[in-house]
């Protein structure tokens, strides 16, 4: 090897040495265990839709790789300070920033390798089960940039404050920050502050995300800009700090002269570029609007993502047809088994649907879910409605058939089935646009569910001394229950259920408009 070739190979050799001695290598078994227990299991419990499964990349996987990576990066960066070898290493040929670049590069090498294997495992498992679409790229890009950013934050902290407490405090601090970001992201809604969209944890998806419409990459782009900007700015700080090691402010200009101008120019450029990118991303986030493809940022938005994705539904049944989106074809059997018996109970009645179709949940549903999760509002989301001529029951993909934590095996359970049937009958017998049926409507719905063989708390306790309600009890402003008691509603349901199917059918045919309008009282139910 010539002297020139040897000199050129040295940075690579330093990098290889750092890779071999990186502490992240020893943390990989722990990361793997956490990944298998948390992210992989969480993803496997989600509905097999690509965008939904991919959401674990920016939530659960970041919670495992991000803080631990930040802590380990801080540990690596504090090495020279811990061992008090700073002065000794100042005498070496290579500048400090080159040593630090190798150490940071090795840390990122192992972190990103482990992260990439995790993403591959999640995607491979999804590919086995998904029946629609393909693997989304943006969650991976956001995840990688976030891991890098957290590692750079940790590395910078470890370089600037090389104490023994830095690494654990950085790890805990970044974990807390990601949880706070998640909480803030849940509260984002039109008209409020939108800065929490910069938190990658906004990717709490609805069950049909990316199914009916493409997920717009706008928010992912600004997240990458924001976090990438932080990383670049911090790299500038690291370069400047390396050149100014143990230099007092009086020696600043002589240090600049001694070290050469370009490290400072590079540091300043990195700082400016990083701050500009993050500021631009922050400003762009403020212009976000909610659209059919999620949060849109006008300056970045491609109108093509607002067009629905064409598909041919999977259907089953003859007199009453049940259709699902092909992404949810695994749910078709359960949906048909649930809806056919209740559809038979109301067949031929005015307004009775002849078909059930799965439709897009829309962004408003996601907002409603977020609000309910935070406990700041009561659930007031309509899950399905009967529209058109001939009447078609349109049910929301996310609300009814496949919530993002749902799976085809859950859809085979009795609870899921009775819930789906109850939603269907509520859309039929309830007043359009209202969430809580009247007591008479509740009695009729419960009786029809019993007749169709549905089993839930309301139908199973119908004949008991303390029956349960199929719907939440209505309370007044002081928290006291209003209207008829559960026992009175159950008694009416038992009465109506005791009628022959023909008599029930005839009464409904005659009184359905009044029942839907809410003018029939509990006592008027036969």
């Amino acid at each position: 090897m010539t002297a020139v070739a040897f000199a050129r190979s040295r940075p690579v050799r330093v990098f290889r040495l750092e890779i071999r001695h990186s502490p992240v290598l020893w943390a990989i078994p722990l990361l793997a265990a956490l990944f298998l227990f948390d992210a992989f299991r969480t993803a496997a419990g989600f509905v097999p839709v690509w965008s939904v499964r991919a959401s674990v990349i920016t939530t659960a996987m970041i919670a495992e790789f991000g803080p631990l990576g930040a802590g380990l990066a801080a540990w690596v960066a504090s090495r020279e300070g811990r061992r008090k070898t700073g002065d000794l290493l100042e005498t070496t040929v290579r500048p400090a920033w080159a040593r630090q670049a190798a150490a940071l590069g090795a840390t990122l090498f192992w972190l990103l390798l482990a992260f990439g294997i995790g993403v591959a495992a999640v995607y491979a498992d999804t590919a086995r089960q998904a029946t629609w679409g393909g693997p989304p790229v943006w969650p991976v890009v956001v995840g990688v940039v976030e891991v890098v950013t957290l590692a750079v934050i940790g590395f910078t902290a470890g370089t600037l404050v090389p104490g023994r407490f830095t690494a654990p405090l950085v790890a805990i601090g970044t974990f807390v920050a990601s949880l706070v970001g998640f909480h803030a992201a849940l509260k984002v809604k039109p008209g409020s502050s939108l800065s929490a969209l910069l938190s990658p944890a906004t990717a709490v998806p609805q069950g049909d995300a990316g199914v009916f419409y493409h997920v717009a990459p706008d928010v992912a782009i600004v997240q990458v800009m924001f976090m990438g900007g932080i990383s670049v700015a911090l790299l500038g700080v690291l370069v400047a700090r390396s050149a100014l090691y143990q230099v007092s402010y009086r020696e600043f200009f002589s240090a600049v002269w001694r070290a050469g101008r370009w490290p400072f120019a590079a540091a300043a450029a990195l700082l400016v570029v990083g701050v500009a990118a993050s500021s631009t991303a922050f400003a762009l986030t403020g212009t976000a609007r909610l659209g059919v493809s999620g949060w849109n940022i006008p300056a970045l938005h491609d109108a093509a993502s607002d067009k629905p994705i064409p598909y041919t539904p999977d259907c089953a049944g003859t007199t009453f047809t049940v259709c699902v989106h092909p992404a949810f074809s695994a749910f078709l059997g359960s949906a048909t088994a649930a809806l056919q018996p209740v559809a038979a109970e109301i067949a031929g009645l005015p307004g009775a649907p002849v078909r059930a179709e799965e439709v897009d949940s829309g962004p408003a549903y996601r907002l409603g879910i977020g609000t309910v999760l935070l406990g700041s509002a009561s659930p007031s989301i309509l899950n399905g409605a009967i529209t058109g001529t001939p009447p078609v029951y349109e049910y929301l993909a996310d609300a009814d058939i496949a919530p993002f934590w749902g799976s085809a095996s859950i859809a085979a359970s009795g609870d899921w089935r009775s819930g789906f049937e109850q939603e269907f009958l509520t859309a039929f017998a309830g007043k359009p646009g209202t969430f809580f049926p009247t007591p008479a409507q509740q009695a009729v719905i419960t009786a029809l569910m019993v007749a169709a063989g549905a089993e839930n708390k309301a139908t199973l306790t119908l004949h008991s001394a303390s029956p349960a309600l199929a719907f939440p009890q209505q309370d007044d402003s002081s928290g006291h229950p209003v209207g008829p008691s559960p026992a009175q509603i159950a008694a009416a349901a038992v009465r109506f259920g005791a009628l022959s199917p023909a008599a029930r059918h005839a009464w409904l045919a005659a009184n359905l408009p009044a029942l839907r309008a809410g003018t029939i009282t509990l006592a008027q139910v036969p």
Binding site: P23, A27, L30, A33, L34, F37, D38, R41, T42, A60, A63, E64, P67, L68, G71, L72, W75, R82, G163, R164, F165, A167, P168, L169, A171, I172, G173, F175, V176, L179, V180, H183, L374, G375
Partner: protein, 220 residues
């Protein structure tokens, strides 16, 4: 000076207890300083302040099982601050230097754990901490126990890694509503099994650390 003079203390017998007390205090103070305990107290204060801010400005969920997420993390941070003080900068010479080292380790770990509970509790005074002081104390005790055990294998400076992994696992257990006492951070404050688990881990960790000390490596 002869060998006999070196072996025989020159002080009068009556003055020995006072001399011993001062020397003991000085020894304890030197031990505490060498473990950066003052820095740990500062780190605990930072943890308490962050928890105070999180509760005051509602950084996270106010109620329900998820309200435990951030307090649990900060309690883990306090425990991590305790366990990184197990690192000794002296290594073998210190082990050969006297028989008081195990007692100093025991005393420092116990005192700092108690201090961590006290400081974090001080930070949440007049705040609504989900689970209360009992759950907070149990979390700090149990996670410190994991860290002390970890220090035997990784050394004191990296003793925070396994507690960090445990708390990430506990976050998952929290959302999945696991009931195993081994996941004590997600159990109610009066859960006996969780207390036994946390106490056992702390007891074993403390005993092992007292007897063996954290692993020493020249690379630290």
């Amino acid at each position: 000076m002869t060998t006999a003079e070196v072996r025989t203390p020159s002080a009068a017998p009556g003055a020995r207890p006072a001399w011993r007390g001062a020397a003991g205090a000085r020894l304890a103070w030197l031990h505490v300083r060498s473990r950066r305990v003052p820095g740990a107290v500062l780190a605990l204060a930072v943890c308490a302040a962050v928890l105070h801010a999180a509760l005051r400005w509602n950084w996270t969920f106010n109620s329900g099982k998820l309200a435990q997420q951030v307090p649990m993390l900060i309690e883990a941070g306090a425990a991590a601050a305790v366990v990184v003080t197990t690192h000794s900068p002296f290594g073998e010479p210190e082990r050969a230097g006297g028989r008081w080292l195990p007692y100093l380790r025991l005393g420092t770990a116990l005192a700092l754990t108690g201090l961590a509970i006290g400081v974090v509790q001080l930070g949440v005074t007049a705040m609504n901490l989900n689970g209360g002081v009992l759950q907070m104390a149990r979390n700090i005790i149990g996670i410190t126990g994991i860290g002390l055990l970890c220090s035997l294998a990784t050394g004191g400076l990296l003793a925070w890694v396994i507690p960090m992994g445990y708390i990430a696992f506990a976050q998952y257990a929290l959302t999945e509503a696991w009931r195993s006492p081994c996941t004590w951070p997600v159990r109610p404050p009066d859960d006996r099994g969780a207390w036994i688990c946390a106490g056992l881990v702390f007891g074993v960790g403390l005993l092992a650390f007292t007897l063996r000390g954290a692993r020493q490596s020249i690379r630290d």
